[in-house]
Symmetry: C2
DNA sequence: TTGAAAGCGCTAACAA
DNA sequence: TTGTTAGCGCTTTCAA
């Protein structure tokens, strides 16, 4: 069906190796100009296209990279895919929207089965959760590994992440300065290391600044009707007003807005809201700019992170020697309306 | 480096083909139980994993599918990837956020070079824009084609789309019933067939219902600061109030909300807003539920569309004979606050 | 300057 | 029940 090297060779009466030389070699031209011309003409006329499967097998080099993340991140996907493509690689992307360890493992194995040259990975679980066989493959020096945000111990590779500590510091300083006298952390109770890390940063920062800090953990991932229980948990946990609630992701923040508004709680007067993520939505807008009130947020710069991850990968791929050092990108803090306190002495809402 | 069939064969003293039989054959067990056990044990112990590149080459069957769309659609990607995976295929996804014909062509060719078995594609340009070589490859009966929303003539394949006609009909009926006396279509002036199709539907429907209808086309894609010019175009085009503006995509709708609010135009009192798309955002929310006011919208059901596209592809892959018929999914209309007119005799805004 | 040959890892037909 | 063989399409020595 498809036109192969052999077809081109037969068409212009040379050997397959000559055709391969002319069509695919970047450096040398050990073929006579005349033959060269004939080969190029034949190839064009027949519509020859190289078969990536066979070149990958022969060269032992697939040109594939794989991205595996525990959530759907269009912004990161887009920039990484484009950068990879620009540099001659093809990125296979997989998002695990819900926690699903089996699928995560299957995807990692499948990627490795496809002989990917590199893997971008934000591991959802801890080291012990992954099968030994998989870890062996990962440790075997074949595929390069760039961890996104969180590294697995004892697995070689470098890391590109976002530095939450400074972001949290900025956020807490801001809300204290605005006059909030209480802080609450609103998260999900999933055992996911990064999340508890953020929680710790917030608690530490509040302690140092003498701000009381409550923690509210929701049992299940917020579905579309989780708002009611959410607002109740929020308000019950709040002892002093005005209170600033740090929502551990954008989704929680939107839920909180809806829920608080339904109960006529004044944002930012009685409750201030800080979102973590501030995702790019529709390619143009940050989530925090779309809601009413607009949401004060820690807005992770996934475009930079993605670009950096790719360049780190290229480094790993090019010289086998030293892994480049981990990078932690700064996390911009964006104050918006949801924490612009203008009630010096607010009254607590009637719960 | 990696453990191959040969390694396993050598390890337990049988031939490679025996190992292949035991490890990879689904049907027969022509190998003695004893040998079988030894092989399985060796494979497990050595951590054998099949090389997808070589099996694909040998079997002439890659198990790859490719999705190429002219915009970033996380919802569609997620459902299609999962469905494909469930059915034993691996989906490679590529989004072209900005119009980029060269990249689109390159991605199509690259997918075919990888010997994908099927291609899901929403062509951005018209037939004549694509090189003849590419069209030949697409017409050659190798890779199956499922067009998303829009088909290219003279290229075999089936289609899965959304039926805008009924959706538009519902929307226009709704705004007329709400009391809007004028309609405006707000779109981008990109030459993209689907868009002008929607525009036509709206104009036709308005004509039949005796509603005057203006068209506003923006020259460039809306960037973050396009709002000002946008609102001006809108308001200048409006001759009668209250006016319902049909925004051809979510992004335009959000821009319109911002712009109109900045100019103190009352939504829905003076201007009603209808969004097309109503994308799922953060996996939980529809865009129209996040904004204030909430946006009346035509909300495309990408989850159904994706699932259907995959099942169509499987049909194409399984029997070569007849292409399944095209499908047009119904397009749910969701009235929300942005068209809930409550001013019977509104005054025009001061422009 | 060229072609023959070997082989990447695997599978499937064939022969033993 | 098994091993041998011949490739899939391509690249890269090696010998002519």
């Amino acid at each position: 069906m498809a036109v192969t090297l052999k077809d081109v060779a037969a068409d212009c009466g040379v050997s397959a190796s000559a055709v391969s030389q002319v069509l695919r070699s970047h450096h040398a031209c050990r073929v006579s100009p005349a033959a060269r011309e004939r080969i190029l003409a034949s190839a064009r006329r027949l519509g020859y296209r190289p078969n990536h499967i066979s070149t990958s097998l022969r060269r032992q080099r697939s040109g594939l990279l794989s991205l595996i993340l525990p959530w759907n991140n269009p912004e990161l996907m887009e920039v990484m895919e484009q950068e990879a493509y620009r540099l001659g690689y093809r990125l296979m992307t997989n998002f695990l929207t819900r926690p699903d360890l089996d699928r995560e493992i299957a995807l990692l194995n499948n990627s490795l089965d496809w002989q990917v040259e590199g893997l971008f990975w934000l591991p959802y679980a801890n080291l012990s959760a992954y099968p030994e066989l998989l870890l062996q493959r990962l440790r075997g020096n074949k595929a390069r590994l760039v961890f996104m945000q969180r590294r697995l111990p004892d697995v070689p590779g470098c890391l590109v992440g976002t530095d939450y500590r400074q972001g949290v510091r900025d956020a807490i300083a801001h809300v204290q300065h605005q006059g909030y006298r209480h802080v609450a952390f609103l998260g999900t109770s999933l055992k996911f290391e990064i999340k508890s890390q953020r929680q710790n940063y917030i608690q530490t920062e509040c302690r140092e600044r003498g701000l009381p800090c409550e923690t509210i953990l929701l049992d299940n991932l917020p579905g579309s009707d989780a708002s009611a229980s959410l607002v109740l948990s929020c308000l019950q946990a709040i002892k002093m007003f005005p209170c600033a609630i740090f929502c551990d992701n954008d989704s929680l923040a939107v839920h909180a807005v809806h829920a608080l508004q339904k109960m006529n709680v004044d944002i930012p007067g009685q409750v201030g809201l800080i979102a973590n993520g501030d995702q790019l939505v529709l390619g143009h807008f940050r989530l925090g700019d779309i809601t009413t009130p607009s949401l004060t947020a820690l807005s992770t710069d996934y475009t930079s992170q993605g670009r950096l991850a790719i360049s780190r990968m290229i480094q790993l791929l090019q010289d086998d020697t030293a892994a480049p050092p981990d990078v932690w990108l700064p996390l911009p803090f964006r104050p918006r309306a949801s924490t612009a306190l203008n009630h010096p002495n607010p009254t607590p809402p009637a719960v």
